[in-house]
């Protein structure tokens, strides 16, 4: 991973790194990616299954309803006039 790629990834992930953090992570991630490159030995094949373990049949019953009321959900949220508060867009 190039350093400027790391900076771009951090920016897109909404994380700000100091110069020291960037240097340290760049070194660590280089080692990690070298280790991960072992997967290059695995022949490419088409991934056919979105559900490889076969869980599709094991689902809960589709019964409408909710056990939580909206007042309880809103209790822990910073709200303004009944709306969830957030920054300027």
């Amino acid at each position: 991973m190039e350093k400027d790629t790391l900076e771009t990834v951090a920016h897109n992930a909404h994380l700000k790194l100091t110069e020291d953090e960037t240097d340290k992570l760049h070194k660590e991630f280089t080692e990690v990616l070298n280790y991960f490159s072992l997967l290059d030995e695995v022949p490419v094949r088409k991934v056919t299954k979105l559900d490889p373990v076969g869980t599709a049949g094991n689902v809960r019953k589709d019964v409408p309803g909710s056990k939580i009321n909206s007042d309880e959900i809103l209790k822990g949220i910073d709200t303004y006039d009944g709306y969830v508060r957030g920054p300027r867009l």
């Binding site: 994380l15 072992l38 991934v47």
Partner: protein, 425 residues
Amino acid sequence: MSSPDMSKIKELNEKYEMFRVLNSDVIKGDFLFSVSDSFVTREADTLCGSEILEGYNPPFDADSVIAFKEAGGVPIGKTNMSEFGTVPYTNGPYGIPKNPFDAERTCGGPSAGAACAASLLDIVSLSLSTCGSVLNSAAYCGVYGMVPTYGKVSKAGTVDAGSSVDRVGVISSKSDDIVKYAKILMESGDGKKSQIKTVGIPKGVTDNVSDDIKKNFERNLEILKSLGFEPKTIELPSMKYAAIACRILTTAEASTSMSRYCGMRYGKQDGDYTLESDEFFTSVRTEHFGTPAKEAILLGSYMRMDGTRERYYNKARMVRELMIEEYQSALKECDVILTPTTESAAPLISETSEMTMVESFSADRFTAPPDLAGMPVLSVPCGYDNGGMPMGMMLIANHNEENKLFDFCETWNKQFDIVKPEAVL
């Protein structure tokens, strides 16, 4: 059951830091259980080992917690874990669980507090397995750990790390509790006996493990033979790729799961609202995520971005399919597969804090492959090293064949004398 002595539990917790928060009320119920901090609970806030969720008081219980409560259980507290289950060894702001057998040693990562609590107290622990964490911690703490087939236990109410890998598991010092409580979670258990005759041993499985683990594994193979089991060497050539693939999938998926923590709706909501949105989200996330979460987000984002996705994320998915095929092919020749649970007994906490990311990944060498493939797994305590530290061995069955693991659990328990730590309550 009689109420536990909470003052003694609090005293133990001050030394061993297994719980982030303890239930302060008088506790009465049919049984007690601990809940990993990655499960939402009404009684206590849920932080998942991270400052960014401080103040998050869920208005509901996770499905597993409901299942235990409906069976007569009472939650005793929320156990400490690594931040969002992203690293194999806990190193967070709320406490580092100390190993019950040696307080200088680790209990693991995402399930550290859960395994510590199960070992020291007479309770069952609920935890989320990410890259095999339930079994690692169970082995380090000398107790039983079991994780059913992927999809068999509801994950509603768990804070996901790697959604396609995470599974709910149970940890206990008693083998019959493992069977009983796993069945409660699975809402099944038809009682059908499943006999194990042949035990598959992957070729080279004891290469590069500690001497104690190797000798102990070989000793236990002889014990299994004397009990009538037939060991058979099998090949799992993709196992060496599976731990890497598991790590890639969990970090990639965790990086998207953690995008929701942005200073709105959950936890910390103390950002400066005068900032424009990108700056706001960046400031909150930078300030309140710890290093493990940041590293997982950055690495995981890289793994799945355009230009690298094919090489890492999609390749990891290919390895998953390959691993499932190899397990299922091997399990036509044997009833279960047996490996050590970990490469060594629990390392020193001081060593784990100096490890690089790559060095720490070795904790998952045996437990990550079955987690990747969603196989049901059981770790049993099976010996103690020269320093008295516990060691575990792990059985892997085919999907939906948990009964084989339950039967082995009962058989093994009859002939293995578990050593309890000195500090046990």
